[in-house]
């Protein structure tokens, strides 16, 4: 096969030249060329090596279905592997390379092995290595090196990708004649229309066939249609593929703003993902031609008949000089005429049908050598191109010399989007094709995609000649699956199409079997003696064509991966350069190290300061809800598992909330801040869940209650001041304040800012949570810090808070409250409201939740050595796990280490000696089981 450029014709701009490289060699092409057409025009035959057998491969198609001519394109972080050379429009400076070859494309060592070695049949690796893991480990390196296609890029992608949403009345997918006609008629009615086309040029089959429409030449008609659509305000997106059809007529479109590997202009995105919600969708996605099954049908020089015509009519190329046309339909005859008119010799037309009455066949018989009942058995040739074919015609064998085979095995309507939308297909036995039948969504399929076939196609294109060499007749070209592989799978008992697919990898390559699935199905159906529809179909999954992951991510990469919520004191903390810890979506200081302290050293210093003097911590992110109304107390007794109604005005209490299954969901405090007004707090990370839960109880379970809920999490910023000197400090900050007792509420002013003071302690020391409006909190913190420092105090972070609360035996959501623990497990059952009016009360009666035996119960652990967090509790190493450690720390003022843990029947096992063992960290500690409160058991320190 030697391709060359004709002197005229096509829609390329012959006045301009583009220069690019392929495997380091410089080539030229014209604007409008694909990489495939530009290389074919310059006589390039070999584009790559195949996945498994390293067979030489050239160009088979002229579109997105290409399984053979896959290249790597671009450099550095813009490198894109497995790009179809037929779906890549050349640009100045394009760098492309072939794949899966070593040391070079023309001399590939893998191919040498492929020639001398036996072919690797389906399931070879399963059988060869089953039960021999050592053998697999030895060979894996070589097998992985030998197989595969392109390598992914190593460097980060420098490009950005956009997401956009759109709405329209009619979305037309595909701008061939059917799609253009649909867009014209819809826009004529005044509908808002979007028209998308994956190609760079509109026209679809009109460009390929260069026929006339409504008395105009194809290109003139397309130009006229385009200007009419533009005048009517139709949004036309070329180089845009509808990759997915989702629920309720939502489609995702992938728009290429630059070609693969091409650098966009500064500040511009490389691709754009559209989410389009349409009232109606018209699918005009055309049909894909199928290859014919014969030995060597994958060799460079064997192409699809329509693709050959595309190269002649669109790109002005003759892909060969001497062509054989092999077909099961009339359409491929057009290719014979197009090639002959461009100066090629037509060696023969081999038609697998017995007859066709159409005009084009009669015209062909008059001009060319046409053989009926004829099929190719084998194509001969190598990396340099084809040399000839062996065929069978009317029972006779014949040898023909040629450098191009234009083959047509019939057409598969592109029903991918129709199927993604939940449609059904019907099988046309005569033509051998599935076409859309019923639709579930507001969608119609038109044109060739609907199964319209004017080519008198015969299903004979799906049946290989009896004498064919099945081991070299490829079905799935990209994954190197042959007819013999499908036969083997069937012989070994695979019947389900889904199993055959996975065993042979048929249709599992990046082309998702666009050209191969039906051929494989037909083979399976023939083996079973059943009609094709009974064999079944595999699922059509989005995306329709390979999509770069960057496009799906859009801007959500790097620091934009998730939102960062900054509490009002964020900037102030930043000045002290703390270590940060994400808490929910919030960024909170973990510790404020001084003089190159480690995290642990800083946290221990901060915790000691709290135990001995005073410290302050930003607690702004806690969940906070104001609940008001005549039924507020009754409502809170539905949400909280403790009593609430008994609270006097100005008093508060610790509380916790259950899920409906009786498991503890969250905990916090509830404060009666007015006669019919309460403030409820929850954990930072659980605040959104609590907000939803409150709405559920309010709207669904207790709609009759007169109560209003406001989420004030982000309104109130808060600072907890804790330590033996906290009371003195607060008295200085608010001289007029009558210092509230533990679990009491007060209002005052600090630094001129109105504050709400809740006397509650998480650390175990006398403490006050001081709340002010977020916008006013900065001077409050500054006043506390200034005066607190005079008392030898310091700010503390989440790490110190953790050490303090573990020593005090306070539970935390996400630690001990882990979605599996009941109030009994946590030792909170004595606080349960005896009236049991709360959510979770019915399920909590379940005997297995009430039972005191067999459940993991919270205990404390003591040790002389550090207790590994997350470790398991065993009697001795190795042993059966009897529990696990949820939080561990060092004693703050004394020597030793403590931890909170869950131990089976733990509350009855105080005094036992166990080992906390973490094999993954290689750490262990001997521990004693004790009560979980290690510090100030009586709570004397926070009461005056």
């Amino acid at each position: 096969m030697t391709g060359s450029r004709t002197h005229q014709g096509g829609i390329i701009d012959r006045n301009k030249t583009i220069s690019f490289t392929f495997d380091g060699k410089r080539y030229q092409g014209h604007p409008g060329d694909t990489l495939a057409s530009a290389l074919l025009a310059q006589g390039v035959v070999l584009f790559g090596r195949s996945f498994k057998y390293h067979r030489p491969r050239g160009v088979m198609s002229a579109g997105v279905e290409e399984p053979n001519a896959l290249v790597g394109v671009g450099t550095g972080g813009r490198y894109e592997p497995n790009t179809r050379a037929t779906d890549l429009f050349i640009y100045e400076g394009l760098v492309a390379e072939s794949q899966n070859r070593w040391p070079s494309l023309s001399f590939d060592l893998g191919a040498v092995i492929g020639l001398v070695g036996r072919f690797v049949p389906a399931g070879f690796y399963y059988k060869a290595f089953l039960g021999k893991p050592g053998l697999w480990k030895f060979y894996e390196y070589f097998i992985r090196r030998a197989a595969g296609l392109g390598q992914p890029p190593v460097e980060p992608d420098p490009d950005s990708y956009e997401h956009r949403a759109a709405f329209c009345d009619v979305l037309v997918v595909g701008a061939g004649p059917a799609g253009l006609a649909a867009a014209l008629s819809a826009s004529a009615l005044g509908e808002r229309v979007m028209l998308v086309e994956q190609d760079i040029a509109l026209g679809g089959g009109l460009i390929r066939d260069a026929n006339s429409m409504e008395g105009l030449p194809a290109q003139a008609w397309i130009t006229k249609a385009l200007s009419t659509l533009t005048e009517r305000g139709v949004r036309i997106l070329n180089r845009t593929t509808a990759i997915g059809y989702w629920d309720h007529d939502l489609l995702t479109l992938a728009q290429k703003l630059v070609e693969p590997g091409q650098a966009p202009e500064d500040g511009q995105a490389a691709q754009r993902l559209w989410r389009v919600r349409a009232k109606k969708v018209v699918l005009a996605t055309g049909a894909l031609e199928r290859p014919l099954p014969f030995a060597g049908n994958d060799k460079p020089g064997v192409m699809l008949a329509q693709a050959v015509r595309t190269y002649v009519n669109r790109f002005g190329i003759t892909p060969g000089a001497k062509a054989v046309i092999a077909t099961c339909n009339d359409d491929a005859y057009k290719t014979a005429f197009a090639l002959a008119d461009a100066g090629c010799e037509i060696v023969a037309i081999l038609d697998s049908r017995s007859e066709s009455p159409s005009e084009i066949v009669k015209a062909a018989v008059a001009r060319f050598k046409v053989r009926i009942d004829a099929q190719i058995l084998e194509a001969a040739g190598g990396p340099g191109g084809l040399t000839g074919i062996t065929a069978e015609a009317g029972g006779q064998k014949l040898q023909l010399s040629c450098d191009l085979v234009a083959a047509s095995g019939g057409f598969s309507p592109v029903a991918h989007l129709h199927m993604q939308a939940g449609g059904t297909l019907s099988w046309d036995e005569a033509k051998g094709a599935f076409a859309p039948n019923t639709s579930r969504q507001n969608q119609v399929t038109v044109g060739a995609a609907s199964g319209v076939d004017e080519a008198n196609t015969s299903a004979s294109g799906l049946t290989p000649p009896k004498a064919v060499d099945t081991k070299h007749s490829f079905v799935d070209f990209q994954n190197d699956v042959t007819l013999a592989d499908i036969d083997l799978a069937w012989q070994e008992g695979y019947r389900s199409v889904e199993h055959v697919k996975r065993y042979t990898t048929l249709g599992m390559a990046t082309d998702q079997g666009k050209t191969s699935n039906i051929v494989g199905l037909a083979r399976l159906a023939a083996l079973e003696g059943r009609p094709v529809p009974q064999v079944g179909l595999t699922t059509f999954r989005p995306p329709y064509t390979p999509t770069t992951l960057g496009l799906l991510a859009g801007h959500a990469t790097g620091k934009h991966l998730a939102v960062i919520r900054r509490p009002p004191l964020f900037d102030l903390h930043t000045e002290h350069n703390p270590l940060w810890l994400p808490s929910g979506y919030w960024m909170r200081p973990r510790a404020y190290p001084r003089n190159a302290e480690t995290l642990h050293a800083a946290a221990m210093r901060e915790a000691r300061t709290v135990r001995q003097g005073v410290g302050w911590v930003d607690v702004s992110t806690l969940g906070k809800f104001e609940v008001a109304g005549p039924d507020a107390a009754a409502f809170l007794e539905r949400v909280c598992a403790t009593t609430v109604a008994k609270l006097a005005v100005g008093r508060g209490r610790y509380s916790f909330m259950l899920r409906e299954d009786g498991i503890v969901m969250d905990d916090g405090t509830v404060w009666r801040i007015g006669p019919e007004r309460y403030l409820l707090t929850s954990s930072t990370g659980g605040a959104d869940r609590m907000s939803h839960h409150l709405a559920y109880v309010r709207q669904v379970l207790a709609p009759e209650m007169r109560v209003a809920i406001a989420n004030v999490q982000e309104h109130w910023a808060g600072i907890a001041v804790a330590g033996p000197k906290a009371k003195t400090l607060l008295a200085q900050l608010a001289p007029d304040l009558d210092i509230p007792r533990h679990m009491s509420v007060a209002r005052s002013q600090i630094a001129g800012v109105p504050v709400l003071i809740l006397a509650a302690s998480y650390s175990g020391e006398r403490a006050f949570e001081i709340y002010a409006a977020g916008k006013d909190i900065v001077p409050v913190w500054q006043a506390i810090a200034t005066q607190g420092t005079d008392h030898g105090g310091c700010a503390y972070g989440l790490e110190a808070l953790e050490i303090l609360r573990i020593e005090k035996g306070h539970v935390v959501v996400g630690g001990e409250i882990d979605g599996r623990t009941t109030p009994h497990d946590l030792g909170l059952d004595r606080m349960l409201n005896p009236k049991a009016t709360y959510v979770g009360a019915p399920a909590l009666q379940r005997p297995d939740l009430q039972s005191s035996t067999g459940r993991l119960r919270m205990v404390g652990l003591e040790s002389e050595t550090p207790i590994p967090e997350g470790s398991m509790l065993v009697s001795s190493i190795p042993g059966t796990p009897q529990g696990h450690v949820t939080g561990a720390g060092q004693r703050i003022l004394e020597d030793g280490y403590v931890a909170l843990a869950f131990l089976r029947d733990g509350s009855e096992r105080l005094g036992e000696h166990l080992v906390a063992w973490s094999p993954s960290r290689g750490a262990k500690a001997p521990v004693s089981v004790v009560d979980p409160v290690f510090y100030d058991h009586e709570g004397a320190r926070y009461r005056d």
Binding site: W246, D247, H248, D249, L250, R275, R277, G422, R440, R638, E660, D661, H692, A695, Y696, Q699, V700, L701, A702, P703, T837, Y838, V839, A841, P842, A843, Q845, R846
Partner: protein
Amino acid sequence: MQLITCPHCGPRAQAEFEFDRAVESVLALDATEAEAVARLYRRENPKGWSWELWRHSAGCGVFLKLHRHTVTHEIAEVSLLDAAP
């Protein structure tokens, strides 16, 4: 991405809503233990039409009752809770 027509806000994308639970698994506060087990653990999981509770969390915040097909995702009805099914 399903399209759900909120009676307050009109047709909105599914991203604005949260699925809460099947209506059948709503448990009254005064339910018995047996009822809790039946509704939470032993309820039907139909392949087909199902009554579901959703909330327009990123919109008006209202809880809605949806009659939705769990296979095709068709939505036959969206109503406020006080309306009869």
